[in-house]
Symmetry: C2
């Protein structure tokens, strides 16, 4: 056969820094980062901030301007852009186009930086705009939620939605750095704070039994928003995600997706709730469902399944919400299984549990057993609530 063969590897590396008050003048971390990347070319930096963050941190823009007055390594462009937070930012193509337009207007080139401050959705939007402008402008992520600091904000994916389809447009494009600032977590409401914990539980269940038992032992501290416990959780969860990305198939060319444990129903649930249920809340419900399914199909012991349900309950996740309940084979949630299969390209691959910390891939799920699993969770919750009432009374 007559051919030439092309083969090369591209190396990617970046650091995830943990800090407090990133833009405080006394904090040299960000300035040092730019000093460590000298360049003969003039470099600019364009900040895009989640509107939910500026609302809680009204002085943030001023702090950034003051910081870059001191840090002359890069030139702050005249505008700091604010975009709406949450999934809405990924649904509105105009926001993407306006970012590209800003790259054009401010002359932001491949030596320059676009920094995003916000939750996972805003990071996804800005990351995508950065990735495709000039075939990739250097991108800095400053995640502000538990979920984005331990999972979505530290990885290599970006994307926006298209015609209601999640992440229909996007790329794999590693950032040049991630800065996790724990002060942003203080202003999260309880739902946002808690919902990020479910991805930590998920990755612990698949990969790290010790971590799961640590979470089990710290549910009270986490529920009470103990900063030290949360910092530990985020860092360990981030490490597990990073190792997974680096170790296996960073740009997901294959079909195996163990980190999607608990996610097939979660995706559907988010959609059914019109995104009023947060991603992390939906994942908690999905973990409960697939853990009990693992028990009912003989893969996992009942004791382990119950420990998982107890951890989720202790963190106040509403795992038996009517919206996740599968009453019969016509349930809307079950349609999520077919959609997930389509999303994977025809071959269904679901990760279940054989133990705390050990996953196993299966290629079909039994609808009746899913109905049974849903009923089991409803029963557990009822009992547990009753138990809690007794405890509270005593």
């Amino acid at each position: 056969m007559n051919y030439l063969e092309q083969s090369f590897s591209v190396k990617f590396d970046y650091k995830i820094y943990f800090t407090s008050s990133l833009f405080e003048l006394g904090n040299p971390l960000l300035a040092d980062f730019f000093k460590g990347r000298p360049s003969a070319a003039l470099r600019k930096i364009f900040f895009v901030i989640d509107g939910g963050v500026t609302e809680k941190h009204p002085n943030l823009q001023e702090a950034i301007k003051t910081y870059f007055n001191q840090c002359q390594e890069v030139q702050l462009v005249p505008e700091i852009r604010i975009v709406p937070g949450g999934e809405a930012s990924k649904n509105d193509t105009a926001l993407f186009e306006q970012l590209v337009e800003a790259v054009n207007v401010y002359g932001i080139d491949r030596h320059s930086y676009i920094a995003a401050i916000g939750g996972g959705a805003v990071l996804d939007l800005v990351g995508y705009a950065a990735a495709v402008s000039h075939r990739g402008i250097k991108h800095i992520r400053i995640p502000t939620t538990v979920l984005s600091q331990n999972d979505s904000g530290i990885g290599v994916k970006n994307g926006i939605n298209y015609k209601g389809k999640k992440n229909f447009l996007g790329t794999f494009a590693p950032p040049v750095a991630v800065f996790n600032d724990d002060r942003f977590l203080e202003t999260l409401n309880d739902r946002d704070y808690r919902s990020g914990i479910s991805e930590a539980i998920k990755v612990a269940l698949i990969k790290d039994p010790e971590f799961f038992y640590w979470i089990e032992a710290h549910t009270a501290a986490l529920a009470a928003r103990d900063p030290e416990s949360m910092n530990y959780l985020i860092r360990r969860c981030a490490k597990l995600h990073l190792d997974h990305i680096a170790g296996d198939d960073p740009f997901e060319t294959g079909s195996a997706r163990p980190l999607d444990f608990g996610h097939w129903s979660a995706h559907k649930l988010e959609q059914l709730s019109n995104f009023t249920v947060l991603h992390g809340e939906a994942v908690a419900m999905g973990i409960a469902l697939d853990s009990v399914y693992s028990f009912l199909t003989g893969l996992l012991s009942e004791e382990k399944a119950l420990r998982i349900l107890q951890v989720l309950s202790a963190l106040n996740f509403s795992i038996s919400d009517p919206i996740i309940q599968i009453k019969d084979s016509g349930s809307a949630i079950l349609k999520g299984l077919a959609e997930f299969q389509e999303h994977l390209g025809g071959l269904l691959t679901i990760t279940l549990l054989t133990d705390i910390g050990s996953g196993k891939e299966v290629h079909e799920m039994d609808h009746q057993q899913l109905i049974n699993a849903s009923a089991y969770i409803a029963g557990f919750t009822k009992e547990n609530t009753a138990l809690n009432s007794i405890r509270h009374e005593s």
Copy 2:
């Protein structure tokens, strides 16, 4: 300092196949390619073809349908999309959006393929749509011009224009395979056929003196469209480009761009001519300019500079067109130097020649010497034309 470090490499490999009549039923190459990539999932293939190609090859769509009736490894989607050829296809964002819409309508997932048949512009458009849909659908390139078969179609870049800025949106995304079918070259007009040769001269001048002397010895055969000579030229040029991409900095994170030899003025020239001058024609003029500039600034011998001009002339490139002439310091071409500098991010880097096959980077160009070089080329052409007239007369 408190951080986690992420580091991984992503391996990319693909083959560039050389063939004749790719879609002839007796040609097993494409069918074998898919057989060699078995999959449990149903895979689809969506073809997008350059309108300039279907015009010359009216039976192409039918041939593709017949071929995939026999090849059951992948399922041809019901539509074969035709898009306008040439730079126009990259200027119209609607074409990009319609491709993304087709991905949605036909349910083309990450296990499926989008194949593009056409010149470099169409490959760039389709490659970009494939790269960002579902974070990357497998992309097959079937380049149909000399330029795309030896250079633009075999590499890792894609892109579309935005607000008149070339490749403003794009990514680095290697294809899964490239099929160079030499039958497509037969129907090219002389300008398109010839213009692709200038990129071969360029890469030879920078990297491969033997190849330059081979071209010099084969100008008559190439001008006469001898297929064997052209196949050799394409393959050797493709190999040099592939080696360059693999060896150095595949996704161009640094500033060095030796393959941009002769391109700073070519880009400007294309724009000034409103793209009536073809890219390859503009590159030929740019090569002439920077080669003579290399001689006038003492880097290159006059004999070598003259040999370059003679090769370009023998291939009928119009290297002293009034549009490239630099009469004074107010010349529009000189503005291209500033624009190229801006494009590179502030630090000008230009490759000049120290010998046939050897480049050297410089960071400034003298306007007066560029004016002198332009006058030198005009003089050479005049003399050469006079010489040719004498020869023709004799």
